[in-house]
């Protein structure tokens, strides 16, 4: 580095014209004059994403008026909703269409910012700011930088590979003869976040399996009636070749059709990404025998007559146990950050899962799911271990059949019920299925 203050050349002709050092008064005057030019103009359309904590991100943006007007014109609407879309790109080179999942938050303003609560730590995200078109698709105005939220718990990876920091390049050593967990390896760690890579994350969030209302198509009329509410958007993987992402649930689809499409997409995702245990959904009415083969349809295709509602047991098999892939269970503090992705089964679960799905009668007992919790990976001796139990209680129509994780739940004569479930670590999907006494479609 040069030192211009000590360099004779530093005293150039500009300095020679000066007479003496500036006084305090002159310094103050110049400082105030320069300060008065604040703030500088915000130029250019940009979206920036920042990590706040394992479960929180912050986005700020600036949209040029011309860019906004062009996007509005292209949207086909007078006042399209502005959305902040968070893509889960953990372990991926994001190409605009290959995210594990995404969720939307409705935002406002050409200059703005938003805190986004995230359901899962140890993930990588890229955000996009855009407008929702009349057909439900998403017109991107700006894409953010990539962020990686840290894992908020201990790593599941344990080995004693060592480095000689004074003699780098020497052979890899081990601190002790302790053997690494054979189920875990560095290849399964995400370099950005330090978390276990979720190699088979289903493209849907917990809400998708439990709340069909959450997947209702965007209802323009309803939005106009409730302009303050940020509508929940389905979290689905867009078509790989789509430059603009059509929402999977078109406005004229019924909730039932949406759910059928959704489960179809789950099936495709699971089947497409080995080595996760592929479980072919047996779409049947609860009381009907399963068909021989699952329907093969593409996303967005209407359900066929052969398709049936999934049984509770099938639901269970599509609910990944999060014991090791999601080190912490953190519910979002704000409604804006809903529909986070559900994690994939971890290696321990894969190892213990049957190669073929059990039939409905062979559904794993509740205790089996509980035993797949992260406590398996915990240290044998701990100073403090905290277990959490969820108490679910409520009422159904008297006489209805209620199942939880595939297990029947006893209803009291008045329809009330009570279930307690120890919670594993990580995000959890709790499929609760109620079948009304008449043969009407069940509500999940």
């Amino acid at each position: 580095m040069t030192d211009p203050h000590s360099d004779p050349a530093f005293r150039d002709e500009v300095d020679e014209a000066l007479l003496g050092e500036p006084t305090a008064e002159e310094l103050r005057s110049i400082a105030e004059e320069v300060a008065s030019s604040y703030p500088p103009p915000r130029l250019g359309t940009e979206l920036v994403l920042l990590e706040v904590s394992p479960n929180r991100a912050h986005a700020y943006w600036n949209v040029e008026v011309a860019d906004f007007e062009a996007a509005v014109a292209a949207s086909g609407q007078d006042a399209p909703a502005m959305l902040l879309r968070l893509h889960d790109v953990t372990g991926l080179e994001f190409d605009g269409s290959n995210a594990h999942s995404y969720f939307d938050v409705q935002v406002q303003g050409l200059q703005g910012h938003w805190y986004v609560d995230l359901w899962q730590d140890g993930r990588a995200y890229i955000a996009e700011l855009g407008l929702r078109r009349a057909n439900g698709s998403f017109a991107v105005m700006s894409r953010s930088n990539r962020i990686a939220t840290p894992a908020s718990g201990e790593s599941a990876l344990y080995n004693t590979e060592a480095l000689d920091v004074l003699h780098l390049g020497d052979a890899v050593q081990r601190l002790t003869d302790l053997i690494s967990d054979p189920h875990l390896s560095p290849e399964n760690m995400d370099a950005e976040t330090g978390a276990l890579i979720d190699r088979n994350p289903p493209p849907v969030g917990p809400g998708t399996l439990t709340d069909p209302a959450a997947y209702r198509a965007p209802d323009a009329a309803a939005e106009e009636a409730h302009p303050g509410a940020a509508p929940l958007q389905p979290s689905v993987r867009p078509a790989p070749d789509a430059k603009e992402f059509p929402l999977a649930f078109v406005p004229d689809a019924t909730p039932r059709e949406q759910i059928e499409q959704l489960f179809h997409r789950v099936q495709e995702s699971v089947a497409a990404e080995p080595p996760a245990p592929v479980v072919t959904p047996q779409w049947t009415e609860p009381s009907s025998p399963p068909p021989a083969a699952a329907p093969a349809e593409t996303a967005g295709t209407p359900a066929t007559e052969q398709q049936r509602w999934p049984s509770a047991e099938e639901l269970v098999r599509h609910v990944p146990d999060t014991s090791a892939t999601a080190p912490v269970d953190a519910a979002p503090a704000r409604e804006e950050s809903h529909a986070a992705p559900a994690p994939a089964p971890d290696s321990a679960q894969q190892a213990s899962s049957p190669s073929a799905p059990p039939s409905a009668k062979e559904a794993l007992p509740l205790d089996s799911y509980v035993s797949l919790s992260s406590f398996e990976h915990g240290r044998p001796q701990v100073d403090l271990e905290v277990n959490v139990e969820l108490h679910i209680y409520g009422r159904a129509k008297p006489g209805a059949k209620l199942s939880f994780y595939g297990q029947p739940v006893a209803l009291q004569p008045d329809g009330s019920f009570s279930i307690r479930k120890p919670l594993p670590q990580g995000a959890v999907v709790l499929p609760l299925l109620a079948v009304e006494p008449p043969a009407e479609p069940p509500r999940t």
């Binding site: 580095m1 040069t2 030192d3 211009p4 203050h5 360099d7 050349a9 530093f10 150039d12 300095d15 014209a17 000066l18 050092e21 500036p22 305090a24 310094l27 110049i30 004059e33 320069v34 300060a35 030019s37 604040y38 500088p40 915000r42 920036v48 920042l50 990590e51 706040v52 904590s53 912050h58 700020y60 600036n62 910012h113 930088n145 990686a148 939220t149 840290p150 894992a151 908020s152 718990g153 201990e154 790593s155 990876l157 344990y158 004693t160 590979e161 060592a162 480095l163 920091v165 004074l166 050593q173 601190l175 002790t176 302790l178 560095p186 760690m189 370099a191 950005e192 976040t193 330090g194």
Partner: protein, 542 residues
């Protein structure tokens, strides 16, 4: 070999606060108070230990902004003026309290202390405390290391990688110029680490850094030794984890040593107690009451009336707390040693300004701790991180998780509703400087444009200090922090506009150079992207 190690790590840092545009400036007292209460007492402790032949080792980071201020002519003169006023007030206090033996003893205590401070600062070290610390490093008792240029909060600057890189590179260069050697370690500001940062640290030659406990506990590979040994990132840079137990004993406002009732009360100050007419010459603008540094009361506790401070009782309590601290470390080590193939290490990092400023007896505590540790060699040895890595250089390979030592353990403190507004400004300013640096990287040395861009880079660095968002969050001097960020950002853009035009009123440039007068060796080309070949200097550049 010792049974275990204790690494005392002090982080000395203050933001760059220097206002030549005002004859007197309240926030410059941050430095003056730290010199009187922290740095000179620490120097006095080291001198005393050296004189007594006590073997000791601890690590001390001195931030580039702190070094720049400690070596700044203007601030040195102003500190002398500050100290002279304090001595004058202390003399008055000795006279005023003559009828009260207990109070008079305390007044004399302050008078003698300030005079001794002046002797050490002016006569012994020629007003250059950096020289004093350099002496201790050369004597082999202190391992000095550095931090980033202006203590930028790196995780929130990394959207512009060059901004992070310059913070680190300049920290290394500043240390080299202050201490004549390369720093082995770096204090990552606020212990705010994120994976991949270790690459930039290695590029600047650093061998180790520190993270908070959960940074190691949640590392990519579960730490085999927990916090009792550092881990090594894949590139060989070591990460030392902060021991939470020893941190709590010193930091905690509830149950920590500094809250003991016999210690001096921080808030009760003569500046608030004395009659206004009497204290007017020693407060702000003769009318705004501020802390003078003369505090006659002890914490006392509860809602009881504050009792007078007794230095002898406090000194006795210091010895008890040093014993307790060492016993606690011994117990930690004894519990871990049987399970380890190397002596357990307890890493205890603190802000240096805690010792003396917030905890008045802190320097005495360090002195007592070191003297007590010295007599039990073999049981517990004081060690620096650099020493440790020489003795134990085979480390478990694991990269810390993103973390900080702030509230909630991540970025929450530096990015919240009260300070989020600064980041769009910081990012855009960094982009602007970087674009111009790339465009004008071939600018001849000594040119006007070079001066303009160098000064723009200084303003950018000063805006990036983690202290500003921290102060905004704490709510202590919010308006000053807000003003600093706004002013520095305005200066960046003003200078960049001038650089594009290659024109400025000469006195304005000179004034801005006087206002932000640090890093004289800074070369704006650090921000340039060398991969992008610059076009010939053009007045129509970005």
């Amino acid at each position: 070999m010792s049974r275990g190690y204790l690494s005392l790590v002090l982080h000395g840092h203050l933001p760059y606060v220097r206002h030549p545009e005002h004859e007197e400036f309240l926030e410059e007292r941050w430095l003056f108070e730290a010199i009187t209460e922290c740095y000179v007492p620490l120097i006095k402790v080291c001198d005393g230990l050296l004189a007594d032949g006590i073997p000791f080792r601890f690590a001390l980071s001195l931030s580039p902004t702190l070094c720049a201020m400690l070596q700044d002519d203007l601030l040195q003169r102003r500190y002398i003026r500050h100290l002279e006023r304090l001595i004058e007030l202390a003399h008055k206090e000795v006279a005023r309290t003559a009828a009260d033996a207990k109070l008079n003893r305390l007044a004399k205590f302050y008078r003698d202390w300030f005079i001794e401070t002046a002797r050490i600062y002016d006569a012994r070290y020629g007003r250059d405390l950096v020289k004093a610390f350099r002496r201790f490093q050369e004597a082999g008792v202190v391992e000095l290391f550095t931090t980033c240029a202006t203590h930028g909060y790196l995780p929130l600057l990394k959207t512009h990688p060059r901004a992070v890189e310059v913070q680190i590179k300049l920290g290394a260069e500043s240390y080299r110029r202050s201490f004549g050697r390369d720093a082995r370690g770096i204090w990552v500001p606020e212990c705010a680490f994120y994976p991949c940062l270790e690459t930039l640290l290695a590029d600047s030659g650093f061998s180790y850094f520190f993270v908070d406990a959960h940074g190691v506990q949640n590392a990519t590979v579960r730490p085999h030794y927990g916090l009792f040994a550092p881990i090594a990132c894949a590139n060989g840079v070591a990460a030392f984890g902060r021991d939470p137990e020893s941190s709590r004993q010193v930091w905690s406002s509830h149950g920590g040593y500094p809250g003991d009732w016999d210690y001096r009360d921080f808030y009760r100050d003569l500046g608030y107690d004395a009659d206004l007419d009497y204290i007017a010459p020693y407060i702000l603008d003769r009318k705004i009451r501020i802390q003078t540094g003369i505090k006659y009361h002890r914490i006392t506790g509860g809602d009881a009336t504050k009792e007078l401070y007794d230095p002898d009782i406090a000194r006795h309590k210091v010895a008890q707390h040093a014993d307790h601290f060492l016993n606690s470390r011994r117990q930690q080590i004894a519990a871990q040693a049987p399970h380890m193939d190397r002596p357990p290490l307890v890493v205890s990092p603190y802000d240096a300004e805690l010792f003396g400023h917030w905890w008045f007896e802190g320097p005495q505590f360090i002195d007592s701790l070191i003297r007590k540790a010295a007599v039990e060699q073999g049981e517990l040895e004081l060690i620096t991180p650099g020493d440790y890595l020489v003795r134990h250089h085979v480390l478990q390979k694991s990269t810390p998780s993103a973390s900080s030592w702030g509230w909630q353990g991540y970025n929450d403190c530096w990015l919240s509703g009260v300070n989020e507004w600064i980041y769009p400004e910081l990012h855009r300013a960094a982009t602007r400087v970087s674009e111009l640096a790339t465009a004008f990287q071939s600018e001849p040395a000594g040119s006007l444009r070079e001066r303009l861009l160098n000064q723009a880079a200084r303003s950018l660095l000063l805006a990036q200090s983690s202290d500003w968002p921290f102060i905004m969050k704490c709510g202590t001097a919010v308006e000053y922090a807000n003003r600093r960020v706004r002013d520095q950002i305005a200066r960046v853009h003003f200078l960049c506009d001038a650089a594009v035009k290659n024109d400025i009123e000469p006195r304005k440039l000179m004034a801005l150079e006087h206002l932000d007068k640090l890093f004289p060796f800074l070369d704006f080309r650090l921000y340039a992207d060398p991969a992008r070949v610059s076009s010939p200097a053009s007045d129509s550049a970005p």
